[in-house]
Symmetry: D2
Subunit: 346 residues, 4 copies
């Protein structure tokens, strides 16, 4: 950590900084420039907030040199983390595709979609039962009843299921029913929830908040990892910018940046990151070409009657076409789609 | 709501839209342009998602004409909502100032700050006990013990207390201890939490999310209002932009925009919206000049030893100076600072 | 165009709107809702500003339904525009790669780079001689002397050359020396420059401004097209967002969105859109996978001594590897790299 | 400047950095941390780009400690720059208000507006004759003919005139006709234009680009100052963010930040920063309360027939009311409105 002093800072101010460095278990190193004195704070700084120095008199700014996360960092864990799910792995050479409806709307809708996405090549089933909706007047999800349908779809297809949690009060249910707990963009900094999930052993799909930096996403994963749950998958899902032609802006840069910074698997959700079914296949291909480890995609047998996100949901036949394209891109990347489970007879 | 059809949309597609309009309890109105047919959907549309039309074949886009919120809207409630707190009101002619430390750190720190801000002219005391922190390695707040100190400060000064909630599991404690529940930026779209608070009768200070639009802030308030809790105060606290000279960008436009759109009181938090104590007084004055109903400001007796947000905390004497300036601006605006409670003898 | 009246607008206000519609050569169509009257303005509206209605009393907002651009629109020109350059085409099945140094620094540097990028598979040479630099204290380009070196590199390699213009006063020189005039992000809305270039017949590479919407990029192209110059290539080069891990945020969504909205060729510049050589190959592959028609990439034989943008410049051998990867992605997309000109003997 | 080396950087890499430091006329200072070696580069660094170090092998990042601007910096020029215009000053205790139409539309419109804003208390007249418009199909300004009307309005009222330049080819005309050359947001980084204006002695009003950082605005001013023209006034006019309720987001923080960083006068343009006449007075008051030195405001006698920006233009009587409010805020700030010139008889 480097503490930059203001021009004209006094000897007493500099000594206070050095004292603060010592109190935080670090050693100091002085460098005197033309305008600015710079004081290095050397040692294990990831748990020392820059704020403890920023507030001192005479300090202009504080620059963190080491990363503020450790468990998520590739620096301390150079090899990719590879997590097995039922019948396939995430984070290694295999590309995983999670697909399904935005919301579980009924038993029939879910089972039909589950069979369709499995036939098209999906490896896991998504489906929301607690829905975070901007308006209190719109469909809020089926709740626990929906989880029963999810369990049945799991049973029927053999595919692991990915379901979003929206409240810490749902955690016991989630651990009981689901294979992967999804943390949505709006809860990426719900730290109480992150900490609680960190104490379970259920794999997690952690989505980037819509205005979260890449570093904040990694810090959010650090909450889960530091609780003891090592199986965290990260997911870029678009960020909020000034552009209005699409629902969000897919930050495709985040794929190679995350792959450089962390050993955790990195997925992309082109349904939310574009907001429009027409653009999903192009961005899904781009994600794999950029090095993503997988995709999560909204599929609905009848988007025109979806209770949420119909506009960005693919029909099963469009999804099947997307899987074919993604498979080819994966091969160019020296990777392959994960093997699919055998489709069960209905 | 206006449904814009794509150029070349068919008669059958248009009929499906009209049928969907009918199914949603609305009546339709057709307008045929050179390239585009536009279908109006007339009736009470605030609870009809645009998505039910967007997903239909042949639809290019859907434009909402009426506001998607109703209880928060000034259109249906033209007069300002004015909420009494202990000894003063918020939302009327009086300007309210909430002040105190970012975090409650100890009994002594809180009581000292409470007395200091009261002496300087504050009307209510803020102080966090459950802290949402980006890093799991930094101070997370004193928890329930902190609430005891808050209660003591309340007793000592007679000032109502404002405390942030970070999990639905803290709600019973909050209702017991605090006068105003603060919902922080990171939880503005924690809909489970909003709904639960909507069922209490404790006043709420709802902060804008760091990338939330003004409309989303109003929709978040609608969750609370529709649960039956009418006492919601809104708070601008800066949004996230590309500018890095300040921690956030104060959206001062939001003050007159919110005052035009809603009857709810509107406050501003210049501590978070600037992130730097040097800029807090200027932005506090600007807020009142722009028409805000109050301020919430971080004050710490010794910012250099604050466990969080020290950089943006004012020392009590700087805060007292700010109150003097704000008082003069309030008078120019034809308003006045709320009366302060008598300072109790220590 | 739809004009939305405020609740409670008067008959006189509505009549003024209808009169304004008539004065603009359009016909009106009335639709009366519960709260809002909506008036359609039907006819050829692309040249009618929404502002002529927005300013009228009683008007709440005005929504444009038809696109404000016409010459750039795929609606009126469904087939891709395909422009021949020396020996290859842009906008059809062939993928074109433009490469070269950020700045022309010397005759030797340019010729060496030109030969290296040609050997690696580039189709055209880039190189700036007038440099837009944030600081007046940094290298501003070689100016006209640099153009002589560019001409020599063109002669030597047979590759067409792409050079950025930064002032209308350079236009005659540019028309004389270069094959493609590049308009940089900072000049995307330099309308005097756009109009002047529209009166030439030199092909144009128009880069998106760093905070320009996709629609604004298309409107900027409309300035050139409406002057009579039809050969405009668009280029996504990253937009400015809150993310600081990369220099800009590559808006990969813009590729399929632009391909849907316009017939003009669409390229991507991963050097500027990421700002870091390490991330350029991943984003270059993503661009082609998303449907881009080409790439423009910074290459320098010795990035450590580049006078500008060294950090994001690839060494020739890294660029050659990128070309190999892009070729494979192009094949998956059913496309191929454009043929390269024969490398001339030095 | 601090050069942060990657973990594991070699001795040879470190020596290359030290050599590069020496070649740039600076001295080096080594600091060895647990993971990272940090090398300080000490001396006058404002003209040394960080890029010369960023490109070296083993370098992770480079942090600038001194400001990259010098002439604009308050550090080297602690007192406010105060510029006299006809009959008043900008940058001292007096608050200056510039007002007038967005576009000069006709002789009558301009003279009527000039008289009205003068009567209401304006100190200078604005009016555009070369208009930067997003669409090539909308009114582009009267051009040189408009300047004649501007000169006549100047003659009639005695007020100095402020006119936007949009091309370097207009510079001779501008120097001849206008008192203050305005550089609009879209040309803030038109460096050829900035340099040319730097060689004149005409005062400049430099507007912040819509996605320019505060530092970039100061660097743009440095181009003008380093050319020899010292009279630069800066103007915040709103930045582009995700919020769509207003045309731009007023960055009110920029006022105190700029006043801290630079000695140049700082104005605010609430017409563009809000885009809506209803919000202009609130933001104008806020600007002065935050410490701005002046305002530039669009006023039109008949906004409903304005050829541009009518929606954000105030009628003269609303402007007069705004001036009254601003006067009171100025007094609270210990300042006063500049004296107005005597209104001439028509």
């Amino acid at each position: 950590m480097m503490i930059i002093m203001k021009p004209g800072s006094t000897q007493v101010e500099i000594e206070h900084v050095i004292e603060q460095i010592r109190e935080n278990g670090l050693t100091s190193h002085l460098s005197i420039g033309e305008d600015h004195t710079v004081i290095g704070a050397v040692g294990d700084t990831h748990a020392v907030p820059t704020a403890v120095f920023e507030v001192l008199d005479g300090v202009e700014s504080v620059i963190r040199i080491s990363q503020p996360y450790k468990l998520a960092s590739r620096q301390f864990h150079p090899n990719n983390s590879i997590f097995p799910l039922d019948g396939f792995t995430v984070g290694g050479d295999e590309i995983a595709i999670i697909a399904g409806p935005c919301s579980v709307e009924s038993r029939e809708q879910l089972l039909e979609t589950a069979r369709a996405v499995q036939a098209a090549g999906a490896h896991a089933l998504r489906g929301g039962v607690f829905k975070p909706r901007t308006s209190p007047y719109t469909f809020q999800g089926l709740g626990e009843e929906g989880l029963e349908f999810v369990a049945e779809a799991r049973q029927l297809t053999g595919m692991p299921v990915v379901v979003e949690i929206t409240s810490i009060t749902q955690l016991d249910l989630m651990v009981k029913y689901v294979d992967v707990i999804q943390i949505g963009a709006r809860n990426m900094q719900n730290f109480a929830l992150l900490s609680a999930i960190g104490k379970t052993q259920t794999p997690v799909l952690l989505k980037r908040g819509m205005s979260a930096t890449i570093e904040e996403l990694l810090m959010a994963s650090e909450y889960i990892l530091s609780g003891g749950n090592q199986r965290v998958m990260l997911c870029e899902r678009g960020i909020r910018t000034f552009e209005t032609a699409t629902r969000n802006t897919t930050d495709i840069n985040a794929i190679p940046v995350l792959k450089a910074l962390t050993h955790l698997p990195v997925l992309l959700d082109p349904s939310h990151s574009t907001g429009h079914a027409d653009y999903v296949p192009a961005v899904a291909r781009a994600a794999i070409a950029a090095g993503a480890d997988g995709l999560i995609i909204e599929v609905h047998p009848d988007p025109a009657h979806a209770l949420s996100d119909g506009r960005q949901s693919l029909k099963p036949e469009k999804f099947a076409e997307l899987v074919r394209q993604v498979r080819q891109i994966a091969e160019v990347m020296g990777r392959s789609l994960a093997p699919t489970t055998k489709v069960q007879e209905a």
